[in-house]
Amino acid sequence: MKPHTLSVLVENKAGVLSRVTGLFSRRGYNIESLAVGICEEPGMSRITIVCIGDDAGIEQVMKQLNKLIDVIKVSDLTDNERVERELALIKVNAEPGTSRAEIMQLATIFRAQIIDVAAKTIILSITGDTEKIDAFEKLLRQYGVKELVRTGRISMLRGSKVLKGGK
């Protein structure tokens, strides 16, 4: 059992996401992370799904996904060289004074951006792989994280190879 990153190219139509996620829950697979958005092909979207399973289970999920009429292509990126990113917005307690200065220092180290400053809080935006965001969030906890929003993971193969349509 290990996390697999699946890239699913779909028709950009109403209801496609529920077809895809419904299939996971129906067949008993948990989605760890999900990100969806338009892509380079007009009329298509790309869904990146991270789910945990053994190889046979993931193979079955991929075959079942392929059966959906609105799914154009399914690729398992797990064993390929790839880049991955997530984005998080973190609203953290930052009373003017030492803690605010410390947080700003941490932000610099992690290359996070301060995107909102209020009297008692600031909002930080950070992108990176899962581990980096986890580490940053952990460090901020001591100041009091008021709210945290994270996107799902997105993933792309390194090099010139691309994932195009066509089953």
Binding site: V10, A14, S18, Q60, K63, I69, G165, K167
Partner: protein
């Protein structure tokens, strides 16, 4: 200018649809108005579930796409069991539902239900048509998707304003449908076919395990030719009955939970299992680890997701069964003799025939045997679900594909009678029997009104034991005969039939069976036979749940 309703009805006719099964309601009024003076025949059922089953029965008997129509909300929801039944058995139907107007969608409007959401897991695909401009295209896609690849049900949900609106529309004629996300593989991979043929030559004890995919792809001829050329015995699943004639010397009969001993022994002892259009269902395999555990496996299936789903496969071949078998036959050069294996199998067949107690009491197996003898392989046999289904599978001699229609995967009680109605419209010259139990028949008994008012000559043979027999059997065997809610009160089905205007006979003894069956066959219209059979008869042999398929109980005398 054409309304959506007109585009729909004309579109159905362009797909070659002659008969649809339906039930009217508020939001399908524009469609029903269009049907009023259309040449498309509409059969009014008495419950929408029956419309879905009738469309399914039509599809199974004819090999073409069946169509049902219902209104929104309760009408659409009543189709659900029928759609799920078709989905589990890969039957091509197009279900058309009305929907509340687009302006009210999502408003909890009167008779609104999210039927595309509800049927998401039980359709091959579904559509909510939001613009009249899309209706014609979606209808064509629906038929294409339902009837190609691994077949299955497709639902089209049409809001009332979409069917009312008029637009300029021209049918694209025979222009092929193309979908970038749907391109089923039909031809088997040549190298895989070569590998399979090599493996067949290496085997000493091969068995062919043929399923419903052989029927669905009209590959019975190819299957029999392959078996005869290679001289390899064949066992079929419940869904595969009729793919090879019952009395063919290479036929082992059905395998699995209520299969023959010879079929189950042969699969257990085999060193090569050639699975053709079958999906290793739990009712077939029993304990999975022990199923064909000494065998290498070749699996031919149109659905790549079925390959390796339950059992590891040595040679997968994805493709249409018929096309793959044709390629295999064309490539066959060498063959070998499996004489010793065939001799062992003959021994099992001789030693373990299907049998039941033959005395003076009226036994359900006897009724099925007599009907089989009278029809001599002609006619279409539909069953309900439970003991009636298993006895029919065991004791009716099926000689041709598409003459056996039953709900296998979902096991839907109440399926048989409406499916028989559908089968009649597919094959109007064939005599159609629904072999029923008293429990199942009462699940769609209201269709007596449909057969009466349309004079649909479907014959219902009720094996009436006043029990939910299969559940009672399990209670007898595994729950200390504690018959919890399985006993049914006696119903006078002849009187019920008469009340609807249908003739019927009650049969209490063996001598009356053949004359009664003859009377039913000779009657021009529908007929109900109420066979008062031995109440606690069991279906044997039986593989208890969780056991290996060679660990059968019952069905042997002495």
């Amino acid at each position: 200018m054409k309304t959506g309703a007109k585009i729909l009805v004309e579109g159905l006719q362009r797909e070659g649809v002659g008969t649809i099964f339906g039930y009217p309601g508020g939001v399908v009024l524009p469609i029903y108005d269009e049907l009023y003076d259309s040449s498309l025949r509409h059969i009014l059922v008495r419950h929408e579930q029956a419309a879905a089953h009738a469309a399914d029965g039509f599809a199974r008997a004819s090999g073409r796409v069946g169509v049902c129509l219902a209104t929104s909300g309760p009408g659409a929801c009543n189709l659900v069991t029928g759609i799920a039944t078709a989905y589990m058995d890969s039957v091509p139907i197009v279900a058309i539902t009305g929907q509340v107007p687009t302006s009210l969608l999502g408003n909890d409007a009167f008779q609104e239900s999210d039927i595309t959401g509800i049927t998401l897991p039980i359709t091959k695909h579904n559509y909510l048509v939001k613009r009249t401009e899309d209706l014609g295209r979606m209808l064509r896609e629906a038929f294409y998707i339902a009837g190609t690849g691994r077949k299955g049900p497709v639902l089209i949900d049409i809001p009332k304003d979409v069917s009312m609106k008029s637009i300029e529309y021209e049918h694209p004629g025979s222009e092929p449908v193309t979908l970038r996300g749907y391109q089923p593989t039909l031809r088997g991979h040549a190298k895989q076919i070569d590998k399979a043929l090599e493996m067949i030559l290496e085997a000493e004890q091969p068995v062919i395990y043929a399923g419903g995919g052989v029927i669905a792809s009209d590959a019975s001829e190819e299957l029999v030719r392959l078996a005869e050329t290679l001289v390899i015995p064949v066992t079929t699943t419940l869904m595969g009955l009729g793919a090879i004639p019952c009395d063919h010397p290479l036929n082992l009969g059905m395998l699995g939970m209520h299969g023959t001993r010879s079929a189950n022994y042969a699969v257990t002892e085999s060193d090569l299992l050639i699975a053709i259009g079958a999906r290793f269902d739990d009712r077939v395999t029993g304990k999975l680890d022990s199923f064909a555990s000494h065998a290498r496996i070749i699996h031919i299936d149109i659905d790549p997701a079925e390959i390796g789903k339950n059992k590891k496969v040595d040679v997968p071949i994805v493709g249409d069964v018929r096309s793959v078998l044709q390629d295999m036959l064309a490539k066959l050069q060498k063959k070998k003799s499996y004489d010793r294996w065939l001799a062992r199998i003959s021994g099992w067949k001789e030693k373990h025939p299907l049998q039941y107690v033959s005395d003076n009491s009226l036994r359900p197996q006897y009724v099925v045997e007599q009907l089989s003898g009278l029809l001599k392989g002609e006619g279409i046999i539909v069953s309900e679900v439970g003991q009636n289904q298993m006895w029919t599978a065991q004791y009716f001699c099926f000689r041709k594909p598409r003459t056996w229609i039953t709900s296998g995967g979902l096991g839907t009680m109440g399926y048989g009678f409406p499916a028989a109605i559908g089968a009649h419209f597919a094959c109007p010259d064939q005599v159609v029997f629904d072999i029923a139990g008293d429990g199942s028949f009462q699940m769609n008994i209201q269709e007596l009104s449909t057969v009466a008012s349309n004079n649909i000559p479907v014959k219902v043979a009720i094996l009436n034991n006043r029990f939910l027999g299969m559940v009672r059997q399990w209670q007898e065997l595994f729950h200390n005969r504690r018959y919890s809610f399985t006993e049914l009160p006696s119903v006078d089905f002849v009187k019920v039939a008469n009340a609807y205007g249908v003739d019927g006979i009650r049969v209490d003894s063996c001598e009356e069976v053949v004359p009664a069956l003859k009377a039913a066959i000779e009657t021009d219209g529908p007929f109900v036979l109420d066979f008062r059979v031995e109440r606690e008869e069991n279906v044997f042999p039986m593989v208890p749940a969780g056991a290996a398929i060679n660990e059968m109980i019952g069905g042997q005398q002495g």
